[in-house]
């Protein structure tokens, strides 16, 4: 497109003096367009059309609400009824419209915004679709309503009783024994208002710019353009692009997440498929909604493409497995019952070895997966969202009981209660992300477990491992677990522990150790971990002994190490082979430059000790004076109380911190919002610059 063409499309520029004199004339249409755009864009979040049906056997009536891309309400009930009179399924109606609606409306809104820059008649093309949109919607809706009413399946049991009909778009009507009443939703009204505003905007737009186009005095060439205007345009364009990017991303996200009209297939379809399948068969499920509460009693694979939904409708467990070698993957499993005493779960199993549960999404389930006596389970890459209930009332995201040799990897648990592993030996728990729960992980009598690269954050307790032996706990992140106990990792009565390269950050107590090792003669080595920003870095019971802490980094904890009880922790080792730990409050010399401090590090807590004797001193907690006292304590040995611990080889610098191994799976929305935000900021910055420049230019002109 040649520059001349572009200029013609863009239309006349408004000279500055004209702009200054008639500011309002040019601003008003822009405001209206902006307002219209916002209204239209926001309308997708509200319903467009609502229908209510009353009949004696439905005392509360039935109600259906239509958004631009989906139906909600008593859709399933209505589908069932529709079936009897031969109406087609809702999923068949307006497919094209529903799939493009979100993006389409956003595009219309964006086009309105573009009208800011187009001063020629072409602006009408930009605004036109938005103006016409509500009427198009009504026409389309009317068409489909007529279509449905005249497409009755003659084979349906009651199709002849009803006869052909057209449900009214608005107002009262009758369908069979139902009295119906339909009315426009707020979304539609917003779109209608937007249409009106856009039309008005166009009128003002033409009034403002048409004279300019006709006038021959107005410079119309690009040569007169000065740099600041170009910058301004660029900024505005950036703004528009940003806005569009945000809008399209959000819209796409909404489209993606808002399932297309999801309706039940015939109930018991899924159970029938299961019952009819040969043992070992693979059942491929396409997108759609299947009734849950199904039982699988033979080896089988259920594999979903495009996220079919298995919906438990709030009753019982969604999928019950009582057979070996069952695989469930690619499903959305949702709406289990909410009975704790019935152990309602997304997937419930008993005596079913070698289950594979892979890449499913669990939504609104009480227990996510409850596996009993089901050895060699593989639970991989699932998303599990619990029920919105008080935390003690929820079920556990994953619960394994008497199910050994399991691999639990790559799962994301959120809003559940615990991830529980009781009486499960030889399990691998790796790369899971458990957040907003109660116990991120809870082990009891589960020996020989591997716990690697998990992220346990914002739970009441990150992990509590008790009465279990031979646990390898490495490269995990225990972050911000702050319930009443608030342990990042709690260990109780554990022997054979390896704890390395973990991050303990921002918990009440990073590590809590109770009677571990428990067997006399056993010892543990705790090394290469980071304890940072916890109230207490490591909290050890006062009788805990035979742990060796070496090459850990204790960074800015309220207290690096504390004893739960009176007494000291000197029955543990705080260095090994002349290599101790890094303590962020260590001040000492390293004369021989070997990276090890020459003065022994002591956790004395002289100030804390004085504070216990003289509670008035509490006033000085955390102050410079307190630090001074602790320094004094180091200078005057006879003031020093018994140390809680001594590290004779404290590291001068932190050791190489372990890698943070857990990657968050950020959604695309986040990245695009960030990108958009960056663009937006840049755009705004440029605009400010332009304005500033303009004002300066204006000033210089006038001065």
């Amino acid at each position: 497109m040649s520059p001349a063409r572009i200029r013609k499309v863009l239309g006349p520029r408004v000279p500055n003096d004209v702009a200054q004199q008639n500011r309002e004339t040019y601003r008003r249409p822009k405001r209206l367009l902006t307002l219209s755009s916002i209204l239209l864009g926001s309308s997708i979040f509200l319903p467009y059309w609502e229908l209510k049906l009353n009949a004696p056997q439905y005392p509360d009536g039935l109600r259906v609400t239509a958004w631009v891309n989906r139906l909600r309400g008593d859709v399933q009930e209505l589908e069932g009824l529709n079936h009897y009179i031969g109406l087609p399924s809702f999923s068949d109606g307006a497919v094209l419209e529903r799939s493009v609606s979100i993006v389409g409306i956003i595009t219309l809104a964006a086009l309105l915004l573009a009208g800011h820059y187009v001063h020629s008649r072409w602006a009408l093309c930009l605004a036109g679709p938005a103006v016409l949109f509500p009427f198009f919607f009504l026409a389309d809706l009317q068409y489909w309503l007529w279509n449905y009413g005249h497409s009755l399946d003659p084979k349906a049991p009651l199709s002849h009783a009803v006869g052909e009909f057209t449900p009214p778009i608005f107002g009262t009507g009758t369908i069979a024994q139902f009295d119906t009443f339909a009315w426009p939703g707020w979304g539609f009204l917003m779109a209608l208002t937007a249409s009106f505003l856009a039309a008005l905007g166009m009128v003002l737009h033409r009034r403002a710019y048409k004279p300019l186009a006709l006038s021959k005095d107005v410079p119309n060439t690009a040569t007169d353009v000065d740099k600041s205007v170009v910058k301004k345009k660029a900024a505005h364009t950036a703004l528009c692009v940003t806005g569009l990017a945000i809008a399209v991303t959000v819209g796409a996200d909404i489209s993606a997440n808002a399932s297309p009209v999801q309706l039940e297939n015939q109930s018991n379809d899924l159970q029938r498929l299961i019952d009819q399948a040969e043992p070992g068969a693979v059942i491929d499920l396409e997108a759609g909604v299947y009734t849950g509460g199904v039982s699988i009693d033979k080896p089988l694979t259920l594999r979903g493409t495009n996220w079919p939904v298995v919906d438990g409708h709030g009753v019982g467990s969604v999928i019950k497995i009582q057979a070996p070698n069952v695989t469930i993957e690619g499903l959305i499993i949702r709406n289990s019952g909410s009975r704790l005493d019935q152990e309602d779960a997304g997937i419930s199993s008993n005596a079913s070895p070698r289950i594979k549960i892979r890449a499913n999404r669990f939504e609104n389930v009480l227990f996510g997966m409850f596996l009993r006596r089901s050895n060699e389970a593989h639970i991989l890459d699932n998303q599990i969202e619990g029920m919105d209930l008080f935390i003690a009332r929820r079920g556990d995201g994953i619960r394994l009981w008497q199910s050994s040799d399991a691999i639990v990897e790559g799962n994301h648990l959120t809003g559940g209660r615990d991830a529980v592993f009781w009486f499960t030996d030889q399990i691998t728990v790796r790369r899971n992300h458990v957040e907003d729960g109660r116990y991120g992980l809870h082990f009891m009598y589960s020996d020989e477990a591997n716990v690697h690269e998990n992220l346990l954050e914002n739970n009441s307790v990150g992990a509590f491992l008790m009465y279990s032996t031979d646990l390898v706990v490495t490269s995990n992140t225990f972050k911000s677990n702050r319930g009443p106990s608030g342990y990042g990792l709690g260990i109780k009565d554990v022997d054979g522990l390896t704890a390395q390269q973990n991050w303990f950050v921002g918990n009440r107590s990073g590590l809590y150790v109770d009677n571990s090792p428990s067997k006399v003669g056993e010892s543990h080595t705790i090394t290469h971990n980071v304890f940072a920003f916890n109230n207490v870095g490591a909290l050890l019971g006062s009788t805990v002994a035979r742990n060796t802490f070496t090459q850990n980094a204790f960074i800015d904890n309220g207290e690096h190490v504390s004893s739960d009880g009176t007494g000291n922790l000197q029955a543990n080792n705080w260095s090994k082979d002349d290599i101790g730990n890094y303590w962020s409050d260590y001040s000492g010399f390293d004369a021989d430059n070997n990276g090890i401090g020459d003065i022994t590090y002591r956790v004395d807590n002289l100030f804390g000790d004085l504070r216990t004797k003289y509670p008035n001193l509490d006033f000085f907690s955390g102050t410079l004076a307190a630090t001074a006292i602790d320094m004094a304590g180091q200078a005057f040995p006879h003031l020093r109380p018994d140390p809680i611990l001594t590290d004779s080889a404290p590291l001068i610098a932190p050791p190489n911190l372990p890698p943070i191994s857990f990657e968050h799976n950020d959604s695309k929305k986040a990245t695009s919002i960030i990108t958009s935000a960056v663009l937006l900021t840049t755009g705004l910055a440029v605009i400010r610059r332009c304005r500033f420049d303009n004002e300066r230019t204006a000033d210089t002109r006038h001065s």
Binding site: Q402, F423, A632, L639
Partner: protein
């Protein structure tokens, strides 16, 4: 922070320390001697305060008394609060020679025989839950009941002389746990079962667990006029084999209702020796399920049903069957978090608190909501047909308190206290309305040492707790005391709970060296009015009346009827009357003794060497021993309890002529 010159820092620090010490000094009103001692013994100010709160000078009586079970020592301890001084160990199921319990005294032999299983006389018990008698929901200081978990027995202790008066063997069950608990006017003493087994001590193979094994709850009728449980008016109720655990009686608004928790609704039956693949120990099987059942029993209605004769006789004891209970709406279940260990009723009877054990929450049920749910109807039923109330309908609140909550007690400020076994803490949390307006939240915790089971607050089980003191019954003492060999004592810790808010102060550690207590109750000492001496000389502690033919001064002597010899003896400082007793070998000896003293603390002992006989006779007390004079020879009987300046001289000769 800019580097200050080193000396200045030191100077600042030292002056700070000096001023702090000085200011503390000037604030101290204890005097220099006390400060000196505190310094020498490295006592902090908190230590000194704790000492002041617990030290009880010579001659001053404790404000409260704590009655604690002795566990498998088989006895009940009496401990003064706040001094934490052991005052008495009341012998119950286990013979105890110092107090002459079970070494020849006929009365004791009758008690032990009453508690026998068949003809097996048991000489130990596992006491768990003492229950002080109540009137109007408050302790009246008259009686104490205690259970024997090992053998399903209950005992009645009279608090006029702090002695066991009655031992009863439960005819329905082999062992118990949820006992003893009393109703607010102590018309009923409750004993709940625990490990399920066939009723009436019958046999059934374990494969018949669900059909033959049962739990039970027994309601013993207490007749205060005679100070004894009346087994004839008592009855039991059959329960499913869910391993009931601890019970509690409703009070105030929930008076007439009984609550028990359970922990094996899964009906796990342990490792099966015939199934090598079965690795499910009880600990695993019992923890498999998400919920167990809180048992809710309408006792008033059950009493009426039993009275109307709708019972079956089991081992000669009336039993309301499960079917009768269901038909008459006596029993309801509602889910509780898995395997809880305890149910405790708030002072107003309005809230029922179940502590989660494996769940860091306490679950609070509302009695009013339970009633509403019962009225609403429409229940599901469990596998035995018992109605299930919906959990969401009856729960009032769940409060996260910490790891391993076990038991809850209450105070007078609307707080509840829950023991946290895993955290080794006691948590203080607030009850909601009407106790506190902004309740249902954790207020604070105090560290205890270590692993607390039960806990007790002053009068915490009554309708009007006193608060003030809390004792934590800790299972592990570890490093608290000098450890005398591998068997460590338990640790009772006294905590000051008088200050509202988050602060509770640990005051004192008391080692328990001869038992493993489970539960305790604390009563205001002035509610008790024990005797100093028995009211009349010749008093029979067994019947708690004067025995008309008890030996008195002037009626002593030895009489013979064939090979039956009767000896009437009095004990008085410092002699026995008679001082010589002669029998023939093989005679059947009936020896009656009366301590004819009327002065305080004038106890006399009586031991016959070689015959395993030792009595302790309090002033006024009369006792009888019966035995075969199997061994011939000359035996010196003597007073075992130091009684007077001439105690050594208080002796006599028991001559058994050989055949």
């Amino acid at each position: 922070m800019r580097k200050l010159p080193f000396p200045i820092i030191i100077f600042a620090a030292l002056s700070l320390i000096a001023s702090a010490c000085a200011s503390s000094d000037s604030q101290s009103n204890l005097g220099s001697e006390a400060d000196q001692i505190a310094l020498e013994r490295s006592l902090s100010e908190a230590d000194v305060a704790a000492a002041l709160k617990t030290y009880t000078p010579s001659g001053v009586i404790d404000e409260y008394l704590m009655f604690s079970s002795g566990g498998h020592g088989g006895q009940v301890f009496v401990i003064g609060i706040p001094s934490m001084r052991m005052l008495k160990s009341i012998a119950v199921f286990t013979p105890e020679p110092w107090q002459g319990w079970g070494y020849g005294d006929q009365h004791h032999e009758e008690l032990f025989a009453a508690g026998a299983v068949g003809d097996e006389v048991l000489t130990w018990g596992d006491t768990h839950h003492p229950a002080l008698s109540e009137t109007g929901g408050d302790y009246d200081g008259q009686y104490l009941f205690i259970n024997d978990k090992a053998n399903a027995r209950v005992a009645t202790i009279d608090l006029r002389d702090f002695e066991t008066k009655q031992i009863l063997k439960n005819p329905l069950s082999v062992n118990d746990h949820g006992g003893t608990f009393v109703t607010p006017d102590t018309e009923w003493v409750i004993e709940g079962g625990q490990y399920a087994s066939p009723l009436a001590w019958d046999y059934a193979p374990i494969d018949d667990y669900s059909s033959e094994y049962r739990g039970m709850i027994t309601f013993w009728k207490f007749d205060r006029s005679i100070g004894r449980i009346d087994p004839e008016a008592s009855f039991g109720m059959e329960l499913p084999p869910y391993w009931q655990d601890v019970c509690d009686s409703g009070k105030a608004v929930s008076k007439g209702w009984i609550f028990c928790n359970s922990f094996n609704v899964e009906m796990a039956t342990g490792l099966d020796p015939d199934d090598p693949d079965n690795t499910e120990y009880f600990e695993s099987g019992v923890s498999a399920g998400e919920n167990d059942y809180l048992h809710i029993i309408d006792l008033d209605a059950a009493v009426a049903v039993a009275a109307s004769g709708q019972t079956v006789q089991v081992n000669g004891f009336p039993l309301i069957t499960m079917d009768t209970a269901i038909a008459n709406q006596l029993l309801y279940f509602t889910p509780e978090p898995k395997s809880p260990h305890g149910v405790d009723i708030a002072p107003g009877g309005d809230y029922i608190v179940v502590s989660g054990k494996l769940d860091p929450h306490v679950t609070v049920y509302s009695f009013e909501k339970i009633q509403q749910a019962i009225t609403k109807g429409g229940f599901e039923i469990d596998r035995y047909g018992i109605p299930l109330l919906d959990f969401d309908d009856v729960v009032e609140a769940q409060v996260e308190v910490g790891l391993g909550p076990l038991h809850t007690q209450f105070d007078d400020q609307g707080y509840a206290y829950t023991s946290l076994f895993l955290d080794s803490d006691v948590a203080r949390w607030s009850l909601g309305p009407p106790y506190r307006q902004d309740g249902w939240k954790l207020e604070g915790t105090v560290d205890i040492h270590y692993n607390v089971g039960h806990l007790v607050t002053a009068e915490g089980d009554t309708v009007s707790p006193d608060g003030k003191y809390l004792v934590s019954l800790n299972k592990w003492s570890l490093d608290r005391f000098f450890h005398p060999g591998p068997l460590y004592p338990q640790n009772f810790q006294l905590v000051d709970i008088s200050e509202p808010g988050p602060n509770m102060q640990l005051l004192y550690d008391m080692p328990i060296a001869n038992g493993e207590p489970h539960y305790a109750q604390i009563i205001k000492a002035d509610k008790l009015d024990p005797w100093t001496v028995y009211p009349e000389v010749g008093w029979d502690p067994g019947s708690m009346t004067v025995k008309p033919d008890a030996p008195q001064i002037g009626t002593e002597g030895v009489s013979r009827d064939g090979d039956k010899v009767t000896i009437d003896m009095t004990l008085m400082r410092s002699h026995f009357t008679p001082e010589r007793v002669t029998v023939k070998q093989g005679d059947h000896v009936t020896w009656n003794l009366t301590n004819v003293e009327t002065s305080e603390d004038a106890t006399h002992g009586f031991a016959i060497p070689g015959y395993n006989i030792n009595l302790s006779l309090e002033p006024g007390e009369t006792a009888t021993i019966e035995f075969e004079a199997k061994h011939d020879g000359v035996f010196t009987y003597y007073c075992t309890e130091f009684c007077s300046a001439l105690h050594l001289e208080m002796a006599g000769y028991f001559l058994v002529e050989p055949n």
